[in-house]
């Protein structure tokens, strides 16, 4: 982005809550089920059917509000938002208009939430993006498009959907990326959504405008749609900001419009210009009663999770690892849990962190497994680092044992035992081997005594060989030195 322009970005994020049943009926929520198998009179909008609120969805939304330090409203209500579309069973959506569950609040952007290539050049460390509101509504159905017709599957219709609306505080595509990453991470930590963009569990619309840096009023707002991944949001915004700046530089006037991002072509395309303003005719849904949140807030507060950014600080403090390592470990909730389970039983948590961040993550990546599918018990990883720490095996053996643990899921002790890898640390046995080696290699002894210090390495190698690699190399070195210096 040219430095003499400022971009202003606000995001509207829709998040599907991971309740078992839908927002206003008891139909199960299941991604990828056979079409129209999770529908009932209520979510099909049949004549006479009525909605009843799913309390868990309200709790989850309030919990999300607490995480982002929103004000949770003492009273909220549901309204009907009227518009016609075939994916809307009732042709009105039950949503929240003037009394949403949550208002205000903020999402902190952390260094590691930025794209990797941008982490070195974060403009505004500790940035917080303010939220306007979080409200709860029902999701619509899914349309499939054929040549001359469209088909509708109402399985998704009625899934509880949180809409999180940010202030236009975001100034770059990278910040938008960091915002979405941070948001997603916190939602997963709170266990309110799986927030998988590919499955449509997290969907995002962007409003973006640019203006010359000397100008105070905002530029013309353009809405971007069809953003299917967090990196796609970054690409789309980068393209759109450039497009708008170029247009302004050419002296063109931008007009308020909605554009569609085509990720394959890397361009945005005009969908529609500003229509006659929507007239949604909101009014309180007479089928539903107002909600006093106080009745469920104590239970919600009890569910407040340790947030990733606090966990990161704690890991640094408790386990003596670097902030960067703690950041990577806490980036993924499951990984942070794995690490902590292992580190708790370990003598040197730092060594556990190293094993997790280097060996374990690459092994998982190579095997295409998630942390939950990790074949190594966290306790076993702690034991492995313990064996190395205690000198029972050397670090090279450690890698071998690790590979075996990953393949078989067995405990490290068992593997060491089975493979006969245990280091010989019996002083007498090592002394005997050393003496035998000295006797068998007079030339090297002579060299050593003549001041060729490196000759001891040859002798050391011979001892290790004789022990079939099991001798503790440090002990061997010490013993050889003692014997050769005639002590």
């Amino acid at each position: 982005m040219k430095s003499d322009y400022i971009a202003t970005i606000g995001l509207e994020v829709h998040v599907q809550l991971k309740t078992k049943s839908k927002m206003f009926c008891g139909c199960a929520i299941e991604y990828g089920a056979e079409p129209n198998t999770h529908v009932c009179p209520t979510c099909l909008g049949l004549p006479g059917a009525l909605p009843v609120m799913n309390l868990e969805a309200l709790r989850m939304t309030a919990l999300t509000g607490l995480i982002f330090q929103c004000d949770v409203a003492p009273i909220c209500k549901f309204d009907r938002k009227n518009y016609y579309y075939p994916d809307m069973p009732k042709n009105y959506q039950i949503s929240q208009y003037d009394l949403p569950i949550c208002q205000n609040g903020e999402v902190p952007l952390h260094d590691l939430a930025y794209p990797k290539d941008a982490q070195k050049s974060i403009k505004n460390a500790d940035k917080r993006v303010r939220l306007i509101r979080i409200h709860l509504e029902e999701d619509v159905a899914k349309n499939f498009h054929f040549e001359t017709t469209s088909g509708i599957d109402f399985n998704r219709a009625g899934t509880p959907l949180m809409e999180i609306v940010s202030q236009p505080d975001i100034e770059s595509p990278e910040e938008a990326f960091a915002y979405l990453t941070s948001l997603k991470q916190a939602l997963i930590y709170a266990d309110v959504s799986d927030a998988d963009m590919e499955k449509g569990q997290l969907r995002c619309d962007c409003n973006v405008s640019v203006r010359p840096s000397h100008q105070t009023e905002y530029g013309v707002k353009i809405e971007l749609k069809n953003l299917n991944s967090i990196s796609g949001v970054r690409r789309a915004l980068a393209f759109e900001i450039d497009r708008q700046i170029s247009a302004l530089e050419r002296g063109e006037k931008l007009s308020q419009e909605t554009r569609r991002w085509d990720d394959d072509r890397g361009e945005t395309f005009l969908m529609r210009t500003k229509e006659s303003a929507h007239d949604y005719r909101y009014f309180p849904d007479p089928d539903l009663l107002p909600v006093k949140t106080e009745v469920f807030m104590p239970a919600v507060r009890a569910r407040l999770p340790e947030l990733p950014w606090f966990k990161r600080e704690r890991f640094v403090r408790e386990y003596g690892i670097s902030s960067y390592d703690a950041g990577v470990l806490t980036d993924d909730l499951e990984l942070s849990r794995y690490f902590e389970a292992a580190a708790k039983g370990a003598k040197r948590p730092k060594a556990v962190a190293n094993y997790v961040l280097n060996d374990l993550l690459s092994a998982l990546a190579a095997a295409g497994k998630s942390v939950e599918e990790c074949p190594i018990e966290p306790q076993h990883l702690a034991e492995l680092t313990g064996l190395i720490e205690d000198g029972k095996i050397n670090s090279k053996q450690g890698k071998e044992v690790f590979a075996e643990m990953f393949a078989s899921g067995e405990a490290p002790e068992e593997i060491v035992e089975a493979k006969g890898l245990k280091q010989e640390s019996d002083i007498d046995a090592i002394k005997l081997l050393c003496q035998q080696t000295i006797e068998a290699n007079p030339k090297s002894v002579e060299d050593y005594r003549a001041g060729k210090g490196a000759a001891i390495n040859f002798l050391k190698g011979q001892v290790m060989k004789a022990s079939k690699g099991k001798a503790n190399p440090n002990l061997v070195g010490e013993t050889l030195e003692k014997l050769l210096s005639g002590v």
């Binding site: 309740t19 529908v39 509708i152």
Partner: protein
């Protein structure tokens, strides 16, 4: 609230009802009369009055997050004017 005449064409569009020009004229005049009657409400000072949405001040009617049986797909689709491959079929929707 002076609105004895109003744009029936625009409102009908919002309500997704096609109307013939003659119908528009009829509705305009008939509903104009109704709205004149409704203007009576302007005589009242309601600035200090809370609106009534439900006749009883009740709150917090919820259900727990429990799955209940859905309709069989055949039953769900049985009333569809047109269906195929388990989907409700409509004229092509252009996004």
């Amino acid at each position: 609230m002076s609105a004895t005449k109003f744009d029936v064409r625009y409102i009908a569009e919002l309500a997704r009802i096609k109307l013939e020009p003659a119908e528009i004229a009829t509705f305009e005049s008939q509903l104009g009369h109704v709205l004149e009657h409704v203007e009576k409400l302007n005589q009242l000072d309601v600035s200090e009055v809370e609106p009534t949405a439900h006749s009883f001040p009740i709150y917090n009617i919820f259900r727990e997050d429990q799955i209940r049986p859905s309709l069989e797909r055949e039953a769900a689709l049985a009333n569809a004017p047109r269906q195929a491959q388990g989907l409700f079929i409509v004229t092509k929707v252009v996004e």
